[in-house]
Subunit: 103 residues, 2 copies
């Protein structure tokens, strides 16, 4: 129940390439596993594990409909965080580029 630990868990859940690919794919709305894993070119079982991890970290929501399970980004703040990471990445790349030019 440590708050630092819970915050870290949320951010750690976002900090993995396969999971980021899933989140990017879910930007347009909910999708079932059968749509997600071919879209990100990962195995079904691996995709399923990452989806479960993100549900238990509070990143994704899960909805069952017949045989299919639909996943969606649970809160808009998630996408804001990912977008801010993109901003930081862009600034880093610019910065490193300028360092190279100056050298």
């Amino acid at each position: 129940m440590d708050k630092t630990y819970i915050r870290a868990e949320i951010l750690r859940a976002l900090g993995q390439p396969t999971r980021l690919k899933i989140i990017d794919f879910l930007r347009d709305g909910e999708r079932c596993v059968c749509e997600i894993f071919p879209a990100i070119s990962e195995e079904q079982s691996n995709t399923s594990r990452h989806l479960s991890l993100m549900v238990s970290s509070g990143i994704l929501s899960r909805r069952k409909e017949g045989v299919k399970i639909f996943y969606a980004v649970k809160r808009p703040e998630i996408l804001t965080i990912v977008d801010l990471a993109t901003t930081i990445m862009a600034q880093e790349i610019t910065g490193r580029h300028e360092m190279l030019l100056a050298a």
Copy 2:
């Protein structure tokens, strides 16, 4: 140079309890290692490793002054991300609480 991988690296650097404690301590401005490690109750060597990791991930900046090395949060977006994670955590806790009440 994969962009998904770089974004993941930034978020992963934020998603660890000891590193979150460091970032929280650096909210008020730059601090040297000798101030940081007692404040977060971690070993000097462990703290130094986490600081180096965050510098190479683009999270912190490093400034040398005599014997001391001062670290600071490199970009305001970093703190925004951490604050959003706190918001998500609060919503998660509220949600789980309501589920308990409803059960």
